[in-house]
């Protein structure tokens, strides 16, 4: 009798936890929406997203510089780390000997575990001085705190994340496909090019999509190297001011200026929506891919 009761209680606790966990993203979305609705009532969405004048004291909230900075940084980071991850994922799943795998597994794990603030410190120590040195050749003032510095730091940060998904995608492709291609006389690389990459294409796109969503929300590391100047960036050697940095830099004074907290919560809400959409599509594609095999 007592055992039955214990079983019931445990089950109840488990279901309660499960419901909390499932409802969590919903809660976050609704909470942020309620908080930002104050601003959305006064200004139109179009005005907020596509004007560039940011003067909280005068009640002007134009998110365009922040959104564009975030887009620039994310796209460049994915352009750098996408090909690197794809090539190494192919190498690790198709070519590499077992000792290479033995080295690479801990390397990927450790890289994935390094906190973002450490990446930021590294960016300040190495990336920013290097960029400051070369940026005059590209016709820029050369402080080193630029979009490209942020993108470089970010691209290393998201490598382990994308690489892990890509390795799983390539492992999911049945061995027979590779073998039949090889037995028809194709070389390894031809097999990769015509069979594997084609078969894994949806998976590759989803991995990159997840990488984009991860990059879009990264805060501290980018904030430390990107300059934080509120202008619309015109090139990769201009400073930028991405959305997460906006939230992180201004939380202190946000309660003293009217509507300011609402504006910051709106930027958190924008981040939430963008990340959610990218995640939704990518996870959906991966789930379908898994069912396909």
């Amino acid at each position: 009798m007592f055992r039955r009761l214990k079983d019931k209680l445990t089950k109840g606790w488990m279901i309660f936890c499960l419901v909390v966990v499932i409802l969590l993203p919903l809660f976050i979305g609704v909470g942020l929406m309620v908080k930002s609705s104050l601003l959305l009532e006064k200004h139109s969405v179009w005005n907020l997203l596509f004007t560039s004048s940011w003067q909280p004291l005068e009640g002007k909230f134009g998110f365009l510089p922040f959104i564009l900075s975030s887009l620039w940084i994310t796209i460049i980071a994915i352009l750098i780390s996408g090909p690197v991850c794809l090539l190494s994922a192919i190498y690790l799943t198709q070519y590499a000997k077992s000792f290479v795998l033995k080295i690479m597994h801990p390397v990927i794990d450790i890289l994935a575990g390094i906190p973002s603030v450490i990446f930021g410190v590294w960016g300040l120590l190495v990336v920013v001085p290097v960029i400051a040195r070369i940026s005059p050749f590209f016709g820029s003032a050369g402080s080193g705190y630029t979009i490209i510095s942020g993108a470089l730091v970010l691209s290393i940060m998201i490598i382990p994340f994308i690489l892990n998904i890509l390795i799983e995608v390539f492992r999911a492709i049945p061995e027979e496909l590779t073998e039949s291609s090889l037995s028809l006389g194709a070389t390894r690389w031809e097999t990769v090019k015509y069979v594997l990459v084609r078969k894994a294409f949806p998976g590759i796109i989803s991995a990159l999509g997840l990488g984009i969503s991860r990059a879009f929300g990264e805060t501290i590391a980018v904030l430390m190297v990107v300059g934080n100047v509120i202008t619309i960036p015109h090139g990769i050697f201009d400073p930028g001011y991405p959305l997460p940095a906006l939230i992180a830099n201004n939380y202190g004074e946000m309660l003293s200026i009217p509507m300011y907290d609402s504006a910051l919560m709106l930027s958190a809400f924008i981040l939430f929506i963008v990340v959610l959409v990218f995640n939704l599509f990518s996870r959906f594609a991966i789930a379908r891919l898994e069912r396909f095999y």
Partner: protein, 284 residues
């Protein structure tokens, strides 16, 4: 024919190159942190709290941030364990036969895993204001635990998934209830894997800065209760680095080294642990 061969070799080298770039990146990061941090590291830094004029390069250390970070992450990991472990067990024992539901739950967990930590921080902050709390150790713990719960559950889920169904059926046939099977059989069978999952989440918790920026505040003292603000290592690094004074900057590098060493210890011990200590595991 010649071209085929050249293409093959070219891409092969390109692949080797990009794999080495990843290794080189990691080595570069760790070595530059060691190179800059080691000269500034001293026993005084590890064993003292900031004294007067610390932020102008005078005496003191970062003990407040080290202890604060440990308190925060241990608390957050404990809270996450209280909620995460039951969910992971429920998914793999009670719902073992309902694959569809489990996959939907996994989908939701992956979604919450993808939400950036700054969004968790902003959400935690609004909740804090709503409930009238001050920025404190407790608020930080709750926010960080929300942030690591999906990570922990997914990691545990991956481990529990591998338990063969036969073990569960054997346990049921001996008359044990589902929850007894969960806590007495599955927990023992997967013990090392679960500890690895906990360590992984602990590493996440100690390294994250964006979610504690709003919720834990910052102080020079070691917190005495849950209601006090708390310093954390990532924020200590961040704040000291923005100072123009070279001594303070050097301390930031040393703090970065401390954090890196903590993270390395966690990830290496997780790796060793998953290889050894399988005493209670039933082999199939």
């Amino acid at each position: 024919m010649k071209f085929k061969k050249t293409e093959e070799t070219f891409f092969r080298w390109l692949m080797i190159l990009s794999t080495s770039v990843i290794v080189a990146g990691l080595l570069l990061i760790i070595s530059s942190i060691i190179y800059k941090g080691l000269p500034a590291l001293s026993w005084e830094m590890l064993s003292q709290t900031p004294k007067g004029g610390f932020y102008f390069g005078k005496e003191g250390g970062i003990l407040n941030a080290i202890i604060g970070s440990l308190y925060l992450s241990v608390g957050a990991t404990f809270l996450a364990l209280l909620i995460g472990l039951p969910v992971a067990l429920y998914m793999n024992i009670f719902l073992k036969k309902h694959n569809r539901i489990v996959n939907i739950i996994r989908f939701f967990l992956d979604l919450s895993w993808g939400i950036p930590s700054i969004v968790y921080g902003a959400f935690g902050f609004t909740m804090m204001i709503y409930f009238g709390l001050q920025s404190s150790l407790l608020a930080g713990m709750i926010t960080v635990s929300l942030f690591i719960i999906p990570i922990m559950i997914r990691a545990m889920d991956e481990v529990l998934k591998t338990v063969p169904i036969g073990l569960m059926e054997a346990s049921f046939s001996l008359g044990s209830t589902k929850s007894e099977t969960a806590f007495k059989v599955f927990l023992k069978q997967c013990f090392t894997g679960l500890v690895t999952a906990i360590l992984l989440s602990f590493g996440r918790a100690i390294g994250d800065a964006a979610s504690v920026l709003f919720t834990t505040g910052y102080t020079d003292n070691i917190p005495q209760s849950l209601g006090e603000p708390t310093a954390t290592l990532p924020l200590a690094i961040f704040f000291q680095l923005s100072s123009p004074i070279p001594e303070v900057k050097a301390r930031a590098y040393a703090s970065a080294l401390v954090l890196t060493v903590i993270i390395l210890i966690i990830s290496i011990s997780a790796r060793l642990l998953s290889k050894r200590y399988n005493k209670h595991k039933i082999k199939f």
